[in-house]
Amino acid sequence: MPTLAKKNDKVVNEFNQYVKPVSLWADAWKRLRRNRMAVIGMWIVGIYMVVIFGAALLPFKSYTEQQMLHVNLPPSFKPAGLVAMGQLEKRKSDLTTAIEKSGRVDLKTDLVRIEAEIIQLKGDIDANPVHKRVYIFGTDYLGRDMLARTIYGGQISILIGLIGTLTAAVIGIVLGALGGYLGGWLDNLIGRFVDIMYSLPYMLVVIIIMSMLPTGSNSIFVLFIAIAMISWLTISRVVRGQIISLKNSEFVEAARSMGAGTGRIIFRHLLPNSLSIIIIYATLQFPSFIMSESFLSFLGLGVSAPLASWGTLVSEGVQGMQLYPWRLLVPAITMTVFLFAMNFLGDGLRDALDPQSKNRS
């Protein structure tokens, strides 16, 4: 932080601008609000959170309900019955041209079946209320609503991200603070351990841990433990550095001279002063947790059915992407937009909380 001089009883910064004394947080908030991309990111993240965690209160369909009458319907604002009818009519005309143009007599039985289905649907379309449903994001191969599945998939993905970040932050803060403050053999031990863990191929270790588990066990729980176990490294390094740079400063000495114990100094004096850097790293790590989880789920080593995360939805979507591209694109775009917003928010927070930029406009 630049030292501030005084002029006519008011504080000025090094460019001779008057500054009103403000707290770090008020100042950071002001700077964050001025960063347009970060504000957009914050709004998007907020909307996602409301929709995803308010899903139970909002009128969405169940993500487990299968409607075999509505398999693989494309996204549309029209009622499902009409969309399904359109699909069947298109299939019928495709089959008719194939039979007429290329003489594919073998397709006749298919045509007969499709015509029967059309007649059945025509009789059903007004009587059965399910045909009134609207699937704005289409349905998947079991006739489940993609919108509901994407929202509930987001719940799992974001929860894993949140819990993983918290676990990693707690482990990292405690070990980093202890190592940095106490130094000596403990610091050495933690430091060497972190070095070795850094040189391990991190994702591969998680894959090994995941593959060790019997399938169908409590895999989400183990998944975030596995990820959090390995990802506290960066936070602990950062916190350690911050603590070392602070531990010989006057306010710590003052606290010590008043008889404060180690625990009190670390938790009441040192950590609050490292909070901004912890927040920055946590926000930047959050999207990377979501990425790691979906990476594993994509490989089939993460969240298992009936639960779904964005990763499993994308990997399911890949299977039929040529015929049913929306099954890939809906979860893929939803996830990318969220990660995009999180990254902008993280960058904005880093710029806003950076003490170098305090009192500058």
């Binding site: 040189s199 080593l301 893929a332």
Partner: protein
Amino acid sequence: MSRFIVRRFLSVIPTFLIIVTLSFFLIRLAPGGPFAREKKIPPEILANIMHKYHMDEPLINQYFRYVGDVLHFDLGPSFRYKDHTVNELLGAAFPVSITLGVVSLGLAVFFGTLVGIISALRQNKWQDYAAMSVAVLGISIPLFVVGPILMLVFALKLKWLPTSGWINSRAGWTTIIMPSMTLMLPYFAYIARMSRGSIIEVLRSDYVRTARAKGLKETVVIRKHVLKGAMLPIVTYLGPAFSGIITGSVVVEQIFVVPGIGKIFVQSALNRDYTVIMGDVIVYSIILITANFVVDILYGLLDPRISYK
């Protein structure tokens, strides 16, 4: 310098041993062995199989036997593919993954620095904003989203490139394009952002002002003075980038059906093929350790301020 190399090399050995030990015991602790299948094997036959692979011995004996074999570059037989040794399986896949990794890293560095230079020189102009938006997008999109979307567009809709597979006489080199583009994207994005930042910083430094003041042409200033100073953080990033590319190639190989070590790794993890997982982890850690080693030495060569004493 040579003393530094030797010392750095010696520090690699314990790391390597710890990796081998850790993965050996982790995998052996896993429930469900490689011979646990739906069809029950008669206990006599199972005992014979266990004896053949020395799995009836105490764990610690197995461990020392394994470490001994590894030191002789013998990774043992595969438990699942009985007519192959791990050496054969990985030996065939290794060049594929290395080619993919090196090509991707090369592309990422080349395009990353290029975009970084452009946006640093056009700071706060539209070129800068466009480039940095692409960079954030590159960081945000997961590999397994980019891969399938590229495949959908360029292979299935436009039919410009083959969907999957690896370099062969029929498809030629075109099969490498999509996997390497997918794999390079996040690292290209990071490098672009980093090089933009460091170039902007270097542009303001005293020695660049001196170079301009003595009347050098702007292109010479950029090439000779700015770039050399700005390359340092990028070189430090190459180690983590390479390790990320190697991990990312697990997914990319899965998507584009590339017969590399990543594909073998996932398969053996799902099959619990102990020896293959172990062998794969060893190969991966050798790659990573070598990459970090090379980066450390490169760094010393580039930055005269670092002395190895």
